[in-house]
Each structure stands twice: as C-alpha cells, then as structure tokens.
C-alpha cells in the first residue's frame, strides 16, 4: 500500500462515515457538523486528485459559507428534533433503505463494469498526478466556457433577488 492509497482510504472512509452520520443524527446541528466533516474529507480527496484550487474552493464555499448559513438558520429558528408525530413508520423507512441500497449496487456496477467500455476508461491516465493549476481552470473558464460562466452569474443574481423578495414580503406581511 502506498501513501496515496492509505490517504484515499482515510479520506474516503471519513467522508462516507460523515455522510451516514448526516442522515442518522436526530438533531440538525449534529447533522450539519457531520456534513462539514464530509466536505473536509472530500477536499482532502480533491487534493489527492491534484485539484488544489477545487479543494480550496470546496472549503471556502461549502464549509465557510454554505454550512454557516445552515447553522445560522438552525439556530435562528431554534429547531430541535422534530416531534415524534412527524416520524416515518418503520416499514416505509425499511423500504426506502432497500431502494437506496439497490441504487448503490447499480452505481457501483456502472462504475466498475460499464465504464470499462467507454472513452473515459480507454484514456490512459497520466502516470504522475498532474496538478491542475488555477491558471488552467481560469483559462478554460474565460475562453471555452465563457457563456456558461456568465450564465452562472445570472443565476446568482436571480437567487439574490429571489431571496430579497421572499424575505421582504415576509417582513412586510408582519407589519
């Protein structure tokens, strides 16, 4: 086992355990914390894959901004655990988990078998981990993907206006 495999197992294991913890904790705050752990482990995986920029942005955007928003809302609404009334019946839950495991089997099958016949598998992976620099990403972003890039800015603008309208209407209704 080389260092990369050990790190992969470490980060992969942590992210998987974190993900399972997200759906098992009763209290949303603990779920949110587990999700942060998962995001961190994924940033580690991105580093392993040589995607330094993406790893940093993952931490800045997800851990630094999105999850803080989640925590903020959980604290603001003072959400505790949901009442027992809202809990699902055990039978339905079991059914959902079985369906989920079926999906997992399917995904693993696709990853191991089907992809072997496609262009992705036949492309010879580089022997050394090629480090994608910020420069490479920036160049692609501002040449080949300029239009999608501009469209994302529109999405953000729309989201911004949407949130303001939603919140404004709520507070005006109260007054």
């Amino acid at each position: 086992m080389n260092a990369e495999q050990i790190l992969f197992i470490l980060f992969g294991g942590v992210s998987l355990i974190g993900a399972i913890a997200v759906i098992s904790f009763r209290h949303p705050i603990y779920s949110a914390l587990s999700l942060i752990v998962t995001f961190f482990a994924q940033a580690g995986l991105f580093l392993l894959l040589g995607a330094h920029f993406v790893a940093a942005v993952q931490v800045i955007v997800y851990a630094g901004a999105i999850m803080v928003l989640f925590l903020f809302v959980i604290m603001l609404l003072n959400l505790g655990t949901l009442s027992a009334k809202g809990a699902m019946s055990g039978k339905l839950k079991g059914f959902a988990i079985v369906l989920g495991i079926l999906l997992a089997v399917e995904g693993v099958y696709i990853a191991t078998n089907v992809l072997n016949n496609t262009a992705i598998a036949s492309a010879q992976p580089a022997t050394e981990t090629p480090t994608t620099t910020t420069y490479d990403i920036g160049e692609l972003l501002f040449s080949k993907y300029l239009l999608p890039f501009e469209v994302t800015s529109l999405i953000l603008l729309a989201a911004l206006i949407g949130v303001i309208v939603l919140v404004k209407r709520g507070s005006e209704a109260e007054n």
């Binding site: 940093a56 851990a63 901004a65 803080v68 925590l71």
Partner: protein
C-alpha cells in the same frame, strides 16, 4: 523546498514549526501585556505594572490563574459541542500561520532554507479557507452554551463573519491580478524594496477594505458585537470558564497576530524595507528580513489596540449596512478599476490613482443614496449620537 535533501527538509521544517508556534504563543502573551499597558497609556493610567519588570510577567500570572480555576461545565449545556468549540476556534488560528512567509531565506551549511513553513501554490486561498472556519468555534460555543445571550452573540457573529468574509476575499483580487500568483511568497517577493512599490500604494482602497474586514473577522472593536458586554454579558463565551475561556481568549489574539502577518505580506511589502533585507551575508540577510517582518507586524498590531480605543462599537444595523452597502461596493470597484486600467495602460501609477478616485466616487454615491433613502428612525436612541459623523452618513 524540492531542492533540499529529505533529512534537511524534515529537520528545518520541524525547527521552523517549533519556533513559529512558540513565537505565536509568546506573541499572544506579549499582546495581552501590551494591550493592557497601551490601553492604560491611552487612558492616562498605568495598567498592570507589578508582576516582573513593568508588569511583563502579568500574562504568566493570568495564565496560572486560568489553569488553577475550576473547569466547570454547566448542566444545561450540550456537552460534546461545548468542549469542542474552543478548540475549533483555536486550531484554525494556529494553522493559518503555516503559509505565511516571515522572511526571505537563510543559508545554513550550504542549504538555502526559505523562512516559511509551507510554500503552497494556493497560499492565499488556504488562508481564506482556514479563516472562514474560525466562525464555527464561535457559533457552536454559542449554541452549545444553551443561553440566550450566547445564542444572540453567535447569531450576530455568524452573520457578521459571512458578510465581511466577502469583502476580505474581494479586496485581495486586485493584488492577485497584478501579481498573477496565489502564493504568498511570490506576492511578497513581487513587491519591491521601497514603500511606493508595495501593494497598499497601488490598491489603497482595497487595503482599507481588507483591513476593516479583518477587524470584523477577528471580532475586535469596533466590530465586537458577538461579545458586546453592555448588551450580551460576554456573548458567546458567557458560559465558559478556566482554560476553555482562555482558549477563546488566546484564539482571538492569535487571529490578530496572524491577520496582521497576512496583511503585511499582502499589502505592506512583506520583509522588504529599503533594501535593508539584502544587507549582510546569506545568514544575516535572512535574520534581518525576519526582523523587518516582525517589526511591521508589531506596528500593525499596535494599530489594532489604537483603533480599539478610538472607535466605539457599531450598532448591529450599522454593521450590516457598512459591510454590504459600503465596503463591498468599494472592494468590487477596486477589482473593476484595477483590471481595466491595467489592461489599458500597464502602469501601476495609473492603477493606483484610478483606484483612489474610483473608490472616492463610489463611496460618495453610496453615502448619498443611503442618506437620501433612509428615513430617520422615529425614536432617536442615545447610542446613535455617539457614532462618528462618517458612519451617520452611511447609515
């Protein structure tokens, strides 16, 4: 560095880590002492001067007292998070320093050792990423305390940190554009030996925005709403005592020190000072450059204390308005102006002048718009009359 043999690399890195972590811890003590002494001086009183020469051992006495206090955990808290929170604030503060270059390089036994723990190619992104994690310590500590005042402090703090992080990130984009590198070492090297080559001259509005945002990120006055004593007892650390409180306290000072070091690297020329850093042999130049960096950081830290006793605390709505409607437009303008003028003229002088003019125009427009739109509050509370006039305009 790749050109060093592995054994030398491990040895030198360990030495650097040990030295820097200890300097940081001693720096915290020095900051606590100097903050109290300088505050005393600014308020025309003495400050602590009994323990040791001029009270220099006072922080050690404080530390001992913290250690021997009972470490109580109240019954009503959420225990795992309550214990975790101080560490979650302290660790980010400690690890940020890993990428800060604190000097040029030093040559020992023929090996050139850079004075920086890790020179990673996304250095500044790393700093931003780790800084953004500091908020969890505050928020979780506040929530786990299960106390109304703590929770209010945590809510304020999370909103404040998200808002000012944006400015923090945007303000450095101009610097990154002209340096075309994310590595802190390259940013420091790219600034010349003389102050008029340093980034704060070229990006003056961005420098001001960055510094202001950093004050907000470190929860210092005038932005310490998370622990406003008059309103929230002590904010997020109300329920903490003994070493857990001391960890919050240390993290705050560590954040200040690291923040100052990053600002010095980004905007104030790093270890450069009129070519002084190249004097002496290969060993001395390294030590001198480290000394220059140290002095610059210390001066910047003094400004922290100075500001604390100069500006009163913001009101919460003023804080939000200031961050979103004033600092953010200024930082954005700085990006647009820097980019445009640099492409058109490739002259740092033009960029510098353009930045200042544009920031002035934008600031006046924003201030005018806000003054026009905001109706005067029905009840003029006494707080607002205490704020400086410039802030009244923004509000």
């Amino acid at each position: 560095m790749e050109n060093l043999p592995l054994s030398v690399f491990i040895l030198s890195s360990t030495a650097k880590i040990v030295i820097i972590v200890h300097m940081l811890l001693i720096g915290v003590m020095a900051m606590i002492w100097s903050e109290r002494r300088v505050s005393g001086w600014m308020q025309d009183r003495l400050g602590p001067n009994r323990v040791g020469f001029q009270g220099i051992l006072q922080p050690i006495a404080d530390g001992l007292k913290f250690l021997f206090k009972e470490d109580l955990i109240p019954n009503h808290v959420d225990k795992p998070l309550y214990v975790l929170a101080p560490a979650m604030l302290l660790v980010p503060a400690l690890v940020t320093v890993a990428v800060v270059p604190f000097g040029s390089s030093i040559t020992i036994l023929g090996y050139e050792i850079p004075l920086q723990i890790a020179d990673i190619n996304i250095g500044i992104l790393y700093v931003l990423a780790i800084t953004s994690l500091g908020v969890y310590g505050v928020v979780l500590g506040a929530w786990a305390s299960n106390n109304k005042y703590s929770l209010l402090g945590g809510l304020r703090s999370s909103a404040q940190m998200i808002s000012y992080e944006l400015t923090l990130g945007l303000a450095i984009i101009g610097v990154l554009m002209l340096t075309s590198s994310l590595s802190l070492r390259e940013i420091a090297t790219a600034q010349g030996a003389y102050p008029w080559h340093w980034n704060f001259m070229i990006h003056f509005p961005a420098f001001l925005a960055f510094t202001t945002a950093m004050y907000a990120e470190t929860n210092r006055l005038p932005f310490d709403l998370a622990e406003a004593e008059q309103e929230l007892v002590a904010g997020y650390h109300t329920e903490y005592s003994s070493m857990k409180f001391a960890m919050f306290f240390m993290a705050e000072y560590m954040n200040m020190i690291v923040g100052s070091a990053v600002t010095v690297t980004l905007f104030l020329g790093g270890w450069h000072f009129f070519g002084l850093e190249n004097m002496g042999g290969p060993v001395w130049s390294g030590i001198i450059s480290f000394g220059i960096f140290f002095v610059k950081t210390a001066i910047f830290l003094f400004v922290f204390i100075w500001v604390r006793w100069t500006l009163p605390r913001f009101r919460y709505d003023q804080l939000m308005n200031f961050g979103w409607k004033f600092l953010l437009p200024v930082a954005l303008t700085s990006i647009v102006v820097t980019g445009t003028l640099w492409i058109m003229t490739s002259s740092r002088l033009v960029v510098a002048i353009g930045n200042i003019v544009a920031a002035f125009i934008v600031a006046s427009i924003v201030a005018g718009l806000l003054a026009m739109k905001t109706p005067k509050p029905a009840i003029q509370d006494s707080d607002s009359r205490l704020t400086p006039t410039a802030l009244d305009a923004i509000e």
